[in-house]
């Protein structure tokens, strides 16, 4: 029952159904010719923030080896436990990773690994389009991490908090 319904005193233009309809039609017609807001995704991409944390990337030295020294900091700091690291040592005593795998499915893209890395080797990158036919495909090994070419994330700088 209509008891307690708030009754508004509206002007005639608003209670008149036909005129309100015509107004609505004018509005929709106007929108027909307005600029479209859709982004045509695969062709047209939204710009990523410089601090976007996406797919990992292992940077390399000039002679094409991974910068990683297998210090073990990143698997330690990783809250999702997604980094698998087996350290190795060559004849000169340089440490290098025998196995370095990141499970991109487990990763929460917090960026701690990049933050903690003393050699600035492992980075999260400005990249998000990943697809695979199997779950195993998302376990990126060292070679694959080194083969990535996308730009890397710029870490937040406390001296320049707004990124200017």
């Amino acid at each position: 029952m209509a008891i307690g319904v708030k009754v508004l005193e509206r002007p005639i233009e608003q209670t008149s159904y036909l005129r309100a309809t015509l107004n609505g039609m004018r509005l929709t017609l106007k929108h027909m010719f307005q600029e479209k807001v859709t982004w045509q995704y695969p062709e047209q991409k939204w710009p990523l923030s410089p601090r976007w944390r996406g797919t990992h990337r292992m940077l390399t030295t000039e002679d094409g080896k991974a910068k990683c020294v297998a210090c073990g900091l990143c698997p330690t700091v990783c809250p999702a436990n997604c980094i698998k690291l087996v350290p190795g040592e060559d004849e000169k005593g340089n440490r290098y990773p025998l196995v370095f795998e990141i499970d991109e499915f487990r990763c929460i893209f917090c960026g701690y690994c990049q933050e903690v890395c003393p050699e600035e080797a492992i980075h999260v990158g400005r990249h998000y389009e990943n697809s695979e036919y199997s779950r195993e495909g998302f376990v990126y090994d060292l070679e694959r991490l080194m083969a990535q070419t996308h730009p890397v994330c710029e870490m937040w700088d406390p001296a320049d908090p707004k990124g200017e």
Binding site: M1, A2, I3, G4, V5, V7, R10, I12, T15, S16, Y17, L18, R19, T21, G24, M25, L27, T28, L29, H31, M32, F33, Q34, E35, K36, V37, T38, Q40
Partner: protein, 429 residues
């Protein structure tokens, strides 16, 4: 007044049976092809227009969007068809076709171009130019409802059934208003043959178009046509939010698609009827060149194109309204049909009949400027009356405005008293 039955029967010019058959078959083939492709393209048009009105792009992937209907059709044919266990299968299968066929058959009598005096005799640009054209349309458009009702019933699903029930109630209500609204048109034409209706409008177009001389009838017809075709704002039979798309809930694949085809088919047919009855049919405005002999092929082509342009405009209008107005509440729908459209249509018949009689007594012929001008003036007056006097929250009203203001005050007093009573009871306890 004697009805010239013999003259009407002889209206079809003599031509050999062979030419008639060949011409009819060719007309049917061409028309059916254009109609079906047109309907497919209309599904694309609907999606495009809805997208534009919402500041989107719409389908633009499959062949820049143009092949989208083909892709949809292919998908629907390949999909699995499901049959509910409890459904009554024969009618369940028959219903989609029954929804579509009346819309298609209605087209048989609509003249879509000027007649063509071909080397083999005159060819009428209508598939079957019946002398009783309009009665045929009325008879068939009532059949369209069966598809929906039977689909709702045979699905054996309560929401489908509710959708079917709603559609039957709605269509029956608006059928009456629709039929009544066309009576002034028939009175002006003096005949139910659609060719005659077009001919009468062609005299001094566009002033003699029925949209100018029967404006209110046109408005009523427009609204009733929306309800007849189950388009928004009258799409209660398929209300997604309440009925899970109503009568076609249980349908899948191509049978579901058939309902879509039927909807667009109905839309095109209703648009064609509107163009024929109120916008001069295939008549070109501002000239009588197209109506006079010799009936060359050029005239036929031009008038046909113009007729289809009119249809497309009305189809666009349908879509425009669809993406503008929200759905009616059920009581508003019924109130609009029975309490506004029907009385208005009846009153309008009386007004128009008096006006026509008055003009005849005054001695103005139906083709004269005075005759059409006077009717146009009368209609402008009536439209202003409708827009500015009648339509003050009365045409479609919220539920409270049906209450008498004093009644409303009383109800409010009762509520206030009850609230106060409850408050005091709570305070005591």
């Amino acid at each position: 007044m004697t009805i010239p039955v013999y003259a009407v029967l002889q209206a079809a010019p003599p031509q050999s049976m062979f030419v008639f058959l060949v011409a009819t078959v060719i007309k049917m083939l061409i028309f059916f092809t254009i109609y079906m492709i047109g309907i497919a393209m209309l599904t694309l048009a609907e999606r495009k227009i809805s997208a534009w009105m919402q500041d989107r792009h719409g389908p633009n992937r499959v062949g820049k969007g143009w092949l989208q209907p083909a892709a949809d059709g292919l998908k629907n044919i390949m999909k699995e068809e499901t049959y509910p266990d409890a459904a009554y299968t024969p009618i369940f299968i028959l219903a989609p076709a029954m929804a579509f066929i009346p819309a298609l058959v209605t087209w048989a009598v609509i003249p879509f171009g000027a007649p063509w005096d071909s080397p083999w005799g005159r060819i009428e640009l209508a598939l079957a130019p019946l002398p009783i054209g309009f009665l045929f349309i009325l008879a068939l458009s009532s059949l369209g409802i069966y598809g929906i009702v039977l689909a709702g019933w045979s699905s054996n699903n309560k929401y489908s059934l509710l959708g079917g029930l709603r559609s039957s109630a709605q269509m029956v209500s608006y059928e009456i208003a629709m039929g009544m609204s066309t009576i002034p048109v028939l009175m002006l034409a003096g005949n139910v043959s659609l060719n005659q209706v077009v001919e009468r409008q062609s005299t001094i177009a566009p002033l003699s178009w029925n949209a100018a001389t029967c404006t209110i009838a046109w408005l009523i017809f427009l609204i009733a046509a929306f309800a007849e075709t189950n388009r928004l704002p009258f799409d209660l039979p398929e209300a997604e939010s309440e009925l899970i798309t109503g009568y076609h809930t249980e349908y899948s694949a191509m049978k579901f698609s058939m309902f879509f085809i039927a909807e667009y088919g109905n839309m095109v047919t209703a648009s064609a009827l509107m163009a024929t009855l109120f916008f001069g049919g295939w008549d070109l405005p501002f000239t009588t060149w197209d109506n006079l002999a010799p009936h060359t092929g050029v005239k036929t082509l031009l008038t046909t194109l113009f007729f289809f342009a009119k249809i497309l405009f009305f189809v666009f209008f349908y879509m425009w309204i669809r993406w503008t107005l929200p759905r009616f509440r059920y009581d508003q729908l019924m109130a609009l049909g029975w309490k506004l459209l029907l009385p208005t249509a009846l009153t309008y018949i009386v007004i128009m009949a008096s006006a026509i009689l008055g003009l005849q007594i005054a001695g103005f012929g139906p083709a004269s400027w005075q005759y059409n001008g006077a009717l146009f003036g009368l209609n402008v007056l009536l439209v202003l009356l409708l827009f500015f006097v009648l339509d003050r929250g009365r045409i479609v009203s919220p539920s409270y405005s049906r209450l008498d203001p004093r009644h409303l005050e009383r109800l409010r007093a009762v509520t206030a008293a009850r609230t106060a009573h409850q408050a005091s009871a709570q305070a005591r306890s």
